[in-house]
Assembly symmetry: C2
Homo-oligomer: 192 residues x 2
DNA sequence: AATTTCATGTAACCAGTTACATGATTCA
DNA sequence: TGAATCATGTAACTGGTTACATGAAATT
C-alpha cells in the first residue's frame, strides 16, 4: 500500500535552507540550528519551534529521512538526510526558470537556491540560473528607474531616497551576477 | 470609561507600511491595496485578507481611526487617518535607535521607517537615523568580510558567491547612506 | 558543584495566504 | 449589456514566534 503524499508546490525559505543543508551531509536539528545561529546563512531564526516541526513536515512528505545516531547512549540524535525522491524534487525546484515575480518578491529564496545549486545540479545549470537571474534583475532595474523618473521631485525626499536604495540594491545584484558568471565561465573552461 | 489597549511592542512591516501611508493622508483599505499593487512600495501583498484585518487591529488599539466617506451613497468607503496617539507612537517607533539586529534581520523595516521619516519626525532626526544606519551597516560589512576571509576556499563556489552577494548588498547600502547623508546635509543647510 | 553545551521537543498565539463572497459603479 | 473597476469583507489553513520543558554530557 502506497501512501500518496501531497507535494508542496511552494517551499518555504526555511524548508529550502534545511533541504540545502541536509543535501550536503546528514544533519540533526541541532546541527541546523547551529548553522543558523553561527553563520550569516540567510536570515533564519534558530528557534526550535520552527526547525523541529519543519523537519517533521519534510519527513512526512518523504523528502528527508531521519536516522537515529548513537542509539546505544542515553542521548541519541536524529540525523536527517535527503531521500532519492527528495533529491529529485530539490533538483527540480532549484532549476525552475526565474520569473519576474521571483526577483521582486523572493530574492532571498533565489539566493538560497543559488548557494546550494553547485552541489545539487552542477555548474552548467548554475550558469543558466545566473544568466536568467541577471536578465530578470536588469529588467526590474529598468522598471524601477522608469518609476524613479516619474517620481514627483518635490514630494518626499526620504521616499525618493528609499526608492533609490532599492534601485541601487538591484544594480549591485546585477554587478554581482556579471562577476559570478565570469567566475563560473572560467571554472567551467578549466575543468574541461 | 477608558479602555486600556495593549500597545504592540513590535510592529509588523505591513502595519508599519499602513501607518506610514495613512500618516500622509487619509486612506481607505482599497487605496492602500492600490499603492501596494501599483508601486514598488516595499514588497507587500495587496491581498484583502491581510490589509483589512490589519486596519481593524490598528483601529482597535486606537492608532488609526476610520471615517465613513460618502455615507449618503450606496458605496461608502472607510478612510483611515492617524489618531494623535497613533502619531505619537509612530514618531517614537521610527526614531528608535538602530541595533545590529535591525540591519541583520530587519532591513526592510528600516527602509520603511526611513521612507516615511521626513514626514513624521523631520530632517534632523532623519539625519541621525542615517548616521546610525551607516555605522551599523559598516560594522556588519566587517563581520561578513571576516567570515568571508575564513571561508574554506575549495568547499563551495556558489556558497562563497552567495556570501559575497550579501557583502556587496550591504556595501551598496553603505554607499547609498553616505550619499543620502550628503543630500540631507545640503538640504538642511539650504533651509536654514 | 555549577555552568555551559548538546539535544529534542510541545503549546498557545498570531499574522499572512488563498480562496471565496458580495454588490455598486463606471465605461466600452 | 457585459466587463472592468471600486470597495469591503470572511473562513480555513499554514507556518513561524515566543515561551516553556526536559534532561544528558562536557567543561570549568
Amino acid at each position: 500500500m502506497i501512501s500518496i503524499m501531497k507535494e508542496p508546490e511552494q517551499i518555504s525559505t526555511l524548508s529550502l535552507a534545511i533541504l540545502g543543508l541536509v543535501s550536503q551531509q546528514p544533519r540533526s536539528g541541532y546541527d541546523i540550528r547551529k548553522m543558523f545561529s553561527s553563520t550569516p546563512m540567510g536570515h533564519f531564526s534558530a528557534s526550535p519551534g520552527a526547525i523541529y516541526p519543519a523537519l517533521k513536515r519534510l519527513e512526512k512528505c518523504e523528502w528527508i529521512q531521519g536516522q537515529r545516531q548513537n542509539s546505544e547512549t542515553l542521548r541519541p540524535k536524529l540525523e536527517y538526510s535527503l531521500t532519492p525522491a527528495g533529491r529529485q524534487n530539490l533538483e527540480k525546484y532549484v532549476s525552475q526558470p526565474i520569473t519576474p515575480e521571483d526577483v521582486i518578491w523572493r530574492m532571498d529564496e533565489l539566493m538560497l537556491r543559488f548557494a546550494f545549486m553547485e552541489n545539487i545540479v552542477g555548474l552548467p545549470t548554475t550558469f543558466q540560473f545566473l544568466q536568467q537571474f541577471l536578465a530578470q534583475v536588469e529588467a526590474y532595474v529598468c522598471t524601477l528607474q522608469e518609476f524613479r523618473r516619474e517620481f514627483p521631485e518635490e514630494s518626499s525626499l526620504t521616499g525618493r531616497l528609499a526608492l533609490e536604495n532599492g534601485i541601487e540594491g538591484y544594480q549591485a545584484n546585477a554587478r554581482w551576477a556579471r562577476r559570478a558568471i565570469a567566475e563560473l565561465k572560467q571554472k567551467i573552461s578549466i575543468e574541461e
